[in-house]
């Protein structure tokens, strides 16, 4: 009922902040969605495994001293014919433990993916907000650039940037630069999504009376954009960044698979898949199979989580 006075807050025992969150509709929706729970669990396990790779991994695949060439091509779970060493997921041609390379590879994949999405988000949100709030030719310019950007496949844009960066960096820095170039390349092909969604949402918010109230107070364009409008358009941004994360991880894997991404000295999941596909038809299937299935599990669960977020945050579907 409207305007019925409630008891003053002090009379009611205030539940703790954590309990309030647990009781919220959002948490309720989460608890009743098995898909979301499983997806979150998988994502968490993979994230933690990647984060703590140096402690979890039985070997350091980047330390040549620990490698034994004799261990090459050991099938998963079986002892090696020469050294009698056993490897959970087998070894590759150099005798590197596949399980360890996956953990380290996932680190690179996730680092690149998350950094790229964050960068794309910053670019997209700022440009989207400016386009919506300023309007006029600024909006036209930003959105036309975005439209043109969309006509290129993301991979092509990334490869173009990668090629340019390769041309202008000196050879000795190329391997260090590769990761950063990858991040920028993926981010630049992904910001359009953010810009479009933020612009759409901000156009709605811009016409609400609270924005007029802020203008009446005398607030300038920047405080209005970032203090008033931005917090109100964040929920679609959250959804897109989750879905973009899955796409960015796949984009990184694709680029690395094509040989324009992470260098073999710092292999990501994509690099591992590229190395592995050479052995697919000679019987050493595990070198390809396990990195590929990890990539699939990671991308799928992040994506499912994003889908669930979108539904949970969309009041129309509730």
């Amino acid at each position: 009922m409207s305007d019925v006075t409630e008891k003053p807050a002090s009379d009611v025992a205030q539940p703790s902040r954590l309990a309030q969150m647990w009781d919220s509709d959002f948490a309720y929706a989460f608890r009743h969605s098995p898909v979301a729970i499983v997806a979150l669990l998988v994502v968490l396990v993979l994230f933690l495994a990647a984060l703590f790779a140096p402690w979890i991994a039985p070997h350091n695949p980047f330390d040549p001293a620990t490698l034994n060439l004799m261990n090459g091509f050991t099938p998963p779970g079986q002892p090696n014919a020469f050294t009698q060493d056993t490897f959970l997921l087998g070894t590759d041609d150099q005798g590197r433990d596949v399980f360890s390379t996956i953990l380290y590879g996932m680190r690179i994949s996730l680092f690149v993916g998350i950094s790229a999405v964050l960068l794309a988000m910053v670019i997209g949100v700022v440009l989207g907000l400016v386009a919506a709030y300023v309007g006029g030719w600024v909006e036209t310019l930003i959105m036309r650039v975005a439209d043109v950007q969309l006509t290129f496949p993301a991979i092509l844009v990334a490869m173009l940037i990668f090629g340019i960066a390769k041309g202008i960096t000196p050879p000795e820095y190329r391997n260090q630069m590769a990761i950063w170039v990858l991040i920028v390349a993926i981010a630049l092909s992904d910001w359009v999504q953010f810009a479009r969604v933020v612009r759409g949402a901000a156009l709605v918010e811009k016409n609400k009376e609270y924005v007029q109230a802020a203008r009446l107070i005398g607030r300038g364009p920047l405080p209005i954009m970032f203090r008033h409008i931005l917090p109100n358009v964040l929920s679609p941004v959250l959804v897109i960044s989750t879905i973009s994360l899955a796409l960015a991880i796949i984009a990184e894997a694709t680029l690395s698979f094509l040989g324009v991404g992470a260098p073999p000295t710092q292999p990501s999941l994509g690099t591992l898949i590229r190395i592995g596909q050479g052995f697919l038809f000679s019987g050493e299937w595990w070198i390809l199979f396990f990195p590929a299935i990890t990539l699939l599990a990671l991308a799928l669960s992040v994506n499912l989580l994003g889908d669930w977020l979108r539904d949970a945050l969309n009041p129309k579907l509730r």
Partner: protein
Amino acid sequence: MEPLLVTDTLLDIKDLTVEFPTRRKVFRAVNHASLTVQPGQIHGLVGESGAGKSTIGAAVLGLLERPGHITAGVISFKGDQISGLDDEAMRKLRGRRISMIFQDPLTSLNPLFTVKEQLVETILAHHDISDGEATKRARDLIDRVGIPDPDTRLNQYPHQFSGGMRQRVVIALALCSDPDVIIADEPTTALDVAVQAQILDLIKELARERQVGVILVTHDMGVIAETTDLVTVMYDGEPVESGPTHEIMGNPQHPYTKSLIAAVPRPTLKLHRFPQISYGGRETRFAIEDLARNWPKTDNDMSKPLFQIEGITKRFLLRKGLLPWDREYFTAVDSVSFDIKPGEVFGVVGESGSGKSTVARMIAGLYNVDEGRITFDGQVVSDLSDKAALNAYRQDIQMIFQDPFSSLNPRMRVDDIVAEPIRHHRLLAGDAIDQRVRELLDQVGLGAEAALKFPHEFSGGQRQRISIARALATQPRFLICDEPTSALDVSIQAQILNILKDLQEHLGLTMLFISHDLPVVRQMCDRVAVMKRGKIAEIQTTDDLFANPQTDYARELLELMPRLDDLSTENLEAES
């Protein structure tokens, strides 16, 4: 209530209870409601938002939104029970024997089909007749609901009709099946006053002529008093009082009905304050004395006007074009001039689209002025470029917006919302800001603990109080109120209007009061400008305007206004 002379009751609702189970608790939307409708009778259901009046209509039609369901009671139609029928059986009744008129004529017509196609389709669905016969019936219906030139209009699309004409089409559509009962849910809320009166007359005529029973759901006491034969007053899902309309209006028994009727603004009587009849623990507190104590005394120099508006014009771009002569403009405000004296409440009335809100926004500096000049306190403020002068002007004027649900940033805490003007203008610093915010919230009747909450935790009336607290934060001299109560229930409206009267009287605030509601204007304003299509039709003192309008347009507006003579005047105290 004693049953009237029952001939054949069309609709008989007994002891209806509707519940919506939610995650936390079961929400009882309708609680043991009983009412009957006889042929040719209009039964009004009145109450505030959330009182459950629309839910009764939905229950009759079997259109309750899941998970809502009827948990007790019986709905009978011509003696047969219809509550609990399955979907298939309900579909046969719905639209055929019982039809419906919705609030928004924009969304209840399909924009892709002509009026004729929609009518003929509906007629054929209910009657076994030829296409030619159906077309003839459609034409007759269009004629009957008072749409001029039916032969041409029949072949037009909904967008070619005005709002009022569209609602007539919707009524014609509801009549296609010769229903016995029509449920009209806020049929005139989306329409202008002038159109509202015509639509209500039409519904009244049709009910008599075709012996149709009508349930009219509305929040508007004026609509009830003018249109209905019987009325049921709902509060919190429960009918609190029911009976013949003139009896309930003239001599209400239940305290809630009394408080509701006392809160209705009268066109004929200017009140000093709306009586505060508290019901259901509503807050009415507003600490004007506290507020006035710390308010800077402004010497209103009565000899000079505070605002001089001289020939202001605003055009909006309709069609873009690279070359100036390719562009098309719509003139929303056309050389409007008026003065506002210090300490007065100056009203601007007009129908929607008359440009009254645009005038308010030009004065507030939200829109720039294409032509003309605005002078505030001897200084030209239209197109101010001097930063210091602009800031000073902004501190002196504040605005209260129409929609309390969009005028507060949902992601900001209440204390940040109220503190924003103080921080921006650097009026206070540090803890003093916090203290002032809490004082303000306390003074507007929300209590200091409101500071830590978010806007969604408050109802519409409470939000409007937050808006008022924000507007008062800079201690302005001038307040622009743009339809400040049109989104509120009538008893909440009375509280907010009382607050505004207090502000004007005790703090000497000057106000620009924009409204489409003439009785509200009558209560609030000293002088009124009537606007029509961007121009001012006439400016008069309120008393003179209501007693003796000079222009035809103003006369027409006043005639269409509900008179409300039947309403009880108990507890009302006229202004001396």
